[in-house]
Symmetry: C3
Subunit: 346 residues, 3 copies
Amino acid sequence: MATGEFLRNQWYVAATSAEIGTTPFRRIICDEAIVLFRRRDGSIAALEDRCPHRKAPLSLGEIVGDEIQCGYHGVRLDGSGRCTLVPSQKDLPIPRNFGARSFPVIEIHALVFLWMGEAGADPALIPDWSTNTAPGWAAVHGYHYVKANYQLVVDNLLDLSHVTYTHKTTLAGPGVDDVPMEVFVEDEVVKTQRIIRNVDPAPIHRATKGLNGKIDRWQLSEFRAPIYILVTLGAEPAGTTEALQVPSHLVLNSATPETATTTHYFWSVTRCIKTDDLELSRKFLEITYTAFDEDAAILEAQQNSMDRDRSGAPLVNFRGDRGGAAARRIIATKLDEQARLAAAAE
Amino acid sequence: MATGEFLRNQWYVAATSAEIGTTPFRRIICDEAIVLFRRRDGSIAALEDRCPHRKAPLSLGEIVGDEIQCGYHGVRLDGSGRCTLVPSQKDLPIPRNFGARSFPVIEIHALVFLWMGEAGADPALIPDWSTNTAPGWAAVHGYHYVKANYQLVVDNLLDLSHVTYTHKTTLAGPGVDDVPMEVFVEDEVVKTQRIIRNVDPAPIHRATKGLNGKIDRWQLSEFRAPIYILVTLGAEPAGTTEALQVPSHLVLNSATPETATTTHYFWSVTRCIKTDDLELSRKFLEITYTAFDEDAAILEAQQNSMDRDRSGAPLVNFRGDRGGAAARRIIATKLDEQARLAAAAE
Amino acid sequence: MATGEFLRNQWYVAATSAEIGTTPFRRIICDEAIVLFRRRDGSIAALEDRCPHRKAPLSLGEIVGDEIQCGYHGVRLDGSGRCTLVPSQKDLPIPRNFGARSFPVIEIHALVFLWMGEAGADPALIPDWSTNTAPGWAAVHGYHYVKANYQLVVDNLLDLSHVTYTHKTTLAGPGVDDVPMEVFVEDEVVKTQRIIRNVDPAPIHRATKGLNGKIDRWQLSEFRAPIYILVTLGAEPAGTTEALQVPSHLVLNSATPETATTTHYFWSVTRCIKTDDLELSRKFLEITYTAFDEDAAILEAQQNSMDRDRSGAPLVNFRGDRGGAAARRIIATKLDEQARLAAAAE
């Protein structure tokens, strides 16, 4: 179980685009307090949320032009973290090295991605979540604050057999855990899938697609380190699973760690069918909120149970856990590498 | 002061009979999370409340037949903790040793007793609290969640002189602490008693027995390790204390430790007089709740005060504290013995 | 940053006079729980709020004559902490050395000062805050519970340039941080001052003095270890700063530490003009509450930010911070001396 360590040289979702405006926005990510704000040209700046002067949170201040002004003594910093003004000694030069750490930011797919490392913020490493904003697609977005470690969220999304037990009123349908889950690992990507044929539909299929007879349904999850899980879901009348080739219902998940035991869980449900159907959008939003509330409840109870467990017993991996276990190995390997590099740099 | 150590090879009251049905019931006892549920034959099972698979609390699941099914991935365990189903790999044998710890349970006296140790769950060690259910007796039951160590509750019940100061509106009457408390220690039992003669009655005596003239009253407390205190109370018109031989008003107390600083305090008030008088039952329930609320308030303040005390000063034992001190010595001796056996077993 | 250490041989404001009556009053000061109560002659006693018997808080008991009686077993202590009665053994002598620690108390200036050290409680060391009660002066009083270390409150009051950024609707006016702050240190007293000439008035000047044209304003802060800051504020029509010689508006501040991260902040605003104007008193009270609420908010955020900062970076001292830095040096020096004496005494 990861405790207080996080992969630094990675992109993390810090916020939705809609959250960031011209008033300072505070969010803790990987145990670091960050303040985000939008400059006049629409670009986003991200600084550590701690004035380098007396450590008051910058987010209590205000944005002046493209700069943030501390709400305590008025120190001003630009979006790169460079100090531009110390009011109490305007006549003196600003000390070299006085400033706040800044973080690379890329806004894309209606999300704000933050690079928590020192260097190497390669945009190509951002997941391709273009269906969030692409023409021909409709998206709904949600956020859950989950009091559990982010790897528990990753585990959850890589073994969808839990729908039978955790999501009785939304996603549960017969036969899901009768089908052995397949797992594929390529480099730093883990894919799990289940194709379930000729079963009764789950409540979500009735509500969103009007399916009432036997169906084929499929669940594909694709993990990409450190926190991204793309879930492709489908359901069609039984016998038409060639539709699997054309994913029409995606769930894009980012499990951004806040602390070792809390997660900012951002999710989007996107679809390329009936994109103008607002009632369908409403249904997807409602059902997904209901289902992810159920996930949050079990994940928080799981975290609490692990916190108070003194048995020393490990988590047990069954067939359904192989995807999550592979994701954990990838994260662990990268954490080891990070620690090795840090040690070498000292 | 006991901190995080508890006597393991002991019976603890886990719940009242009424609390346990066919939905899972969670309670933390001696710092261990336990789930209890009733089988179809009415018997009660108790398991650690932590799925051996991914550690989610079993109590979030449901009872299927005589088994509990985890609410996360559907693992099923019977009442002995043996796993009977792993849904994600139905075709494979269940791994040997995969299961949850179970605890011996005995339901008697309208209470559910749990043996927190490994072996030796001897029913003879359960206190004889048959007046809870015996013909010819009437009982009322209550529960207080007290944010204090259970030994503070034991101390409280072994020195009833505190009624004068803590229970002004219910149990306080003149002269109680003018009578030196007598203490008897036999093996693992501690008895304290005060007989107070020719005094004015306390509010409880007026309310429940209509006593308004001078009375004799007596208070006997009998501690049995680790958490049981039987209190026998009596009040009769002055000069008739031979009635002491026929206890008519008993208070049966169990101070089950939840954690080092919290206690599940179960109590029953039983009587063999006017057993059909429901109004009298109501009065006993009301007065006892009022009085034990007062105890809980002072015990929680005492615990808080001890927690923040850095003086290093010990608790002081006066004459009234000899009973509690004897009980503490018994517990300490048994804890030492437990530690010695544990060390020898390693 | 001071953590859990406090200067012991010092007077601290424990309460306002109005807070202490004939029911016990509990307050934690320098991490010690204290109970205060008023004797029949009006004098105030202060004891540690922990019964020497079983450590219940004495403040849950009651005052009997000039003594406090514990609410658990009735132990009685007089105002010097000497035990006068142990009810459970009235016939035995009270053990020598059984009692509670008492603290020297002086009630003056409508405040209750407590000496937290062992000896040397010299009344001359109490700050001269006679304007709180002196004829010809009118005073309003307030209290803020601030979840921040008291030294952050001291810093705040020694650099009033923050009014521009933190108190926009009350004290902020142009030009304050254009004037370099002057700092004077004499022995254990630190004075900072700014005189700002020919500027527009702040909201408080319009509200309380009807000043609408250009003004001269001044801010003087005088720190006296360990927690006292006398602030003298003034504003007059521009060009009349000789009035500086006659302070008419004082703010008397005591930042009593509760714990390392919480402070009892007592303040009074006193004036020698329009002393009969109750509406003016109301305005001062309202404006000061508004302003100090703003201080409390930024100080609590600063404390929280420091608590979670793992950067190891120090607080930075600019020109405006020299007063606070000098106060911190005085406290640090005295803490070192205290530690040296404590070590020598062992």
